[in-house]
């Protein structure tokens, strides 16, 4: 065996660690890296901040409160009583009256171009044709009936007046904003962790980092810390747009909102970590993440109430973390609920966190 010359001066005994500024600490550095990687990825910034605002704006316009639309009805021409019926109906609020030949009238009814067809049967008789299953057709029939009877000389014995109101909190946009907030919390939390970890793993960067004395706990914690920073912006953006611009009420306390949002962000981050635990490629991670997210977009009451699903599915839907988030955010914002009222939802979120986080750590592959 070869013997080498005496080793040249071995490294001197290490001096005490030099004092570090906060910026030189590894947790701070790791968190800064996460934040830089996010800001320098314009697509990620758009999907996190731009997209939800555009979506909220678009839906606010689509579902803005407008006066109820007038319903088209038809009157058959060229039969006795047609002139008189049209005179009675003309100018009735809520109706648009079309004069139609018998042929085209039938066609218009079948294709839904008109809701009700009025077929005069001489001077003092009228037949209504309409589809009983269409709510607007039933309403239009009642309005037409009233107009025709009045036109023929009926007077009402009871005098009525009315006052209409639009209650803030009952519009579609009021329903939607809490759901949008929940959906965004879920998407950005699951995505930022799953993508960040799997991207690093697929590039062997994760392995490279574990070859240094880096603390693995700090690495994972850095994702949570950077998430908290962006979370604050995300929540402010959506809530700001919702309450200040669109007039969505925020009746509950901000503290309760904060508790729900933080717990939801932790639970969804744990789910993201689970998605990332063993996945090797970014493509696989994105498929996996969508598999997890997609059912919740549908079932958890983002765009429409989850009560539309059959009774049988309700317990499962209620156990989904996004359902818990949306329901509790809605209760606090729209009904002013306190912690006492939303604890079942908070318990669901805590359960997801407590199950997914240890499981993810157990399954996690650093290489």
């Amino acid at each position: 065996m070869t013997t080498t010359a005496a080793p040249t001066a071995p490294p001197a005994a290490s001096p005490p660690p030099a004092p570090r500024t906060w910026r030189e600490r590894s947790l701070v550095q790791l968190t800064l890296v996460r934040m830089r990687e996010f800001w320098r990825e314009p697509e990620a910034v758009f999907w996190t901040f731009g997209f939800p605002l555009v979506l909220a704006g678009g839906l606010a316009i689509a579902f803005r409160n407008k006066p109820p639309e007038a319903v088209p009805i038809g009157v058959v021409t060229g039969v006795p009583g047609s002139e008189q019926a049209r005179a009675s109906l003309r100018g009735t609020p809520g109706l648009v009256v079309d004069a139609l030949s018998p042929d085209s009238a039938e066609r218009a009814l079948r294709t839904g171009a008109i809701a009700v067809l009025v077929v005069p049967q001489g001077d003092r008789a009228v037949e209504y044709r309409y589809d009983r299953d269409r709510a607007e057709a039933r309403t239009a029939r009642l309005v037409a009936e009233e107009a025709l009877q009045r036109g023929a000389g009926r007077t009402n014995p009871v005098a009525t007046t009315e006052r209409q109101l639009t209650e803030p909190g009952s519009r579609y946009i009021d329903f939607f904003i809490p759901g949008l907030l929940g959906m965004n919390l879920m998407g950005s939390s699951v995505w930022s962790i799953a993508f960040g970890v799997v991207n690093a793993r697929s590039k062997k960067l994760l392995k490279r980092l574990t070859a240094t004395p880096m603390s693995r706990a700090e690495y994972l914690l850095s994702f949570m810390l950077s998430r908290m920073v962006f979370l604050a912006f995300e929540v402010l953006a959506i809530l700001g747009l919702g309450t200040l611009v669109l007039g969505v009420p925020l009746r509950g306390s901000l503290a309760v909102m904060g508790v729900i949002i933080l717990l939801a962000a932790f639970a969804f981050s744990a789910i993201g970590l689970l998605v990332a635990a063993r996945t090797r490629t970014v493509e696989a991670a994105s498929g996996f993440a969508n598999l997890v997210l997609f059912p919740m977009w549908i079932f958890s009451g983002v765009f429409f109430a989850s009560t539309r699903f059959p009774e049988l599915l309700r317990p499962f839907i209620a156990a989904l973390p996004l359902t818990a988030t949306n329901d509790s955010l809605r209760a606090v914002m729209l009904q002013g609920a306190g912690l006492g009222a939303v604890w079942p939802q908070l318990a669901v979120l805590a359960a997801w966190l407590v199950i997914c986080f240890p499981l993810a750590l157990m399954l996690f592959r650093w290489r």
Partner: protein, 314 residues
């Protein structure tokens, strides 16, 4: 070897085995690296170099065998060991979105007694690029940054896995200078390569690895001298002529002969006798040369004579 009060070996590996399914990547490999030396693992692709070095780095679990790094074991002293090692992997893509400086600040933050970022940037000649994003760097610059990340913790032992594979000649020389500077501070390097010129230039000792085993060990000079050849004569024949290897080996002064894709390589002693004899033999057989060259033997020739294959063939 009984334990004595000398400083522990920088690295000691005994009976290493690693299997991946049917493939035995490392097959009973022993190594001993002394403090202060630059030790090279030379072998073709698939020889088991990366598997071996990653086991030494504590990144892969061996199926059998023992590993002592700086006298310590991975299962007991991982955290302490990581402080004292610098590791550059064969293929790492550092985060594209970060700058050179940001990347080094990150790696620096992991160590208890790091060098300064400015020092390391100067060491790897990236001062002009310190504000550039990593996706703006050339291959050689990326590789130097990767080595810089391994050096920022001020390691006693540096692991480099194929540090110059795929680089242009100038970048390779820059990297070699970097390793030589590190060696000059008296610290230890373990490097793998499939370039014989790299091993000859950098390594104090070389282990030639094939099929997961060490098939030869020594200084580059010792290994080359073991061939007993002074020169290698390479030639090819005109008009697709052929000559039998027996005929060549029978020539006075020829130690070995082989043919690869129409090029004959003949190892000879006393070239001033052997070359005329060789040419005479060809002439008598009525064969004409289309090309002839001679060179001093290299580690490549050592590998060829041990395995019958060329290093680059893999």
């Amino acid at each position: 070897m009984p334990p004595v009060a000398s400083p522990p070996r920088a690295l000691e590996v005994r009976g290493l085995v690693k299997r991946y399914g049917d493939v035995t990547a490392v097959n009973g490999l022993d190594l001993a690296v002394e403090p202060g030396e630059c030790f090279g693992l030379l072998g073709p692709n698939g020889a088991g170099k990366t598997t071996t070095i990653e086991i030494c780095e504590g990144l892969t679990e061996p199926d059998a065998g023992e590993v002592f790094v700086l006298g310590r074991r991975w299962d007991r002293d991982e955290r302490a060991l990581r402080e004292r090692l610098g590791i550059a992997l064969q293929e790492t893509q550092l985060s594209d979105k970060l700058t050179v400086r940001e990347t080094l600040e990150l790696f620096r933050s992991f160590y208890a007694h790091p060098r300064t970022v400015d020092d390391v940037i100067a060491l790897v000649s990236l001062a002009e690029k310190q504000g550039a994003r990593i996706n703006e760097l050339s291959g050689g610059q990326k590789q130097r940054l990767d080595v810089a990340c391994a050096l920022v913790g001020d390691p006693e032992l540096l692991f480099l896995d194929e540090p110059t594979t795929g680089l242009d000649p100038q970048s390779r020389r820059q990297l070699w200078d970097l390793v030589e500077q590190f060696k000059a501070t008296g610290r230890t390097v373990l490097l793998t390569t499939h370039y014989m010129d790299e091993a000859e230039r950098l390594a104090d000792r070389v282990a030639i690895v094939d099929h997961g085993r060490v098939i030869a060990l020594g200084t580059p000079q010792e290994l080359i001298a073991s061939l007993g050849a002074e020169y290698v004569v390479a030639f090819s024949l005109a008009h697709e002529g052929t000559v039998s290897l027996e005929t060549l080996r029978a020539v006075d002064g020829v130690r070995a002969a082989r043919v690869d894709a129409g090029t004959y390589e003949v190892q000879v002693t006393a070239i001033h006798h052997a070359l005329p004899a060789l040419l005479g033999t060809l002439e008598r057989s009525g064969l004409a040369l289309s090309q002839l060259s001679t060179h001093s033997p290299t580690l490549e020739d050592v590998f060829v004579s041990l395995t019958g294959r060329a290093l680059r063939d893999g």
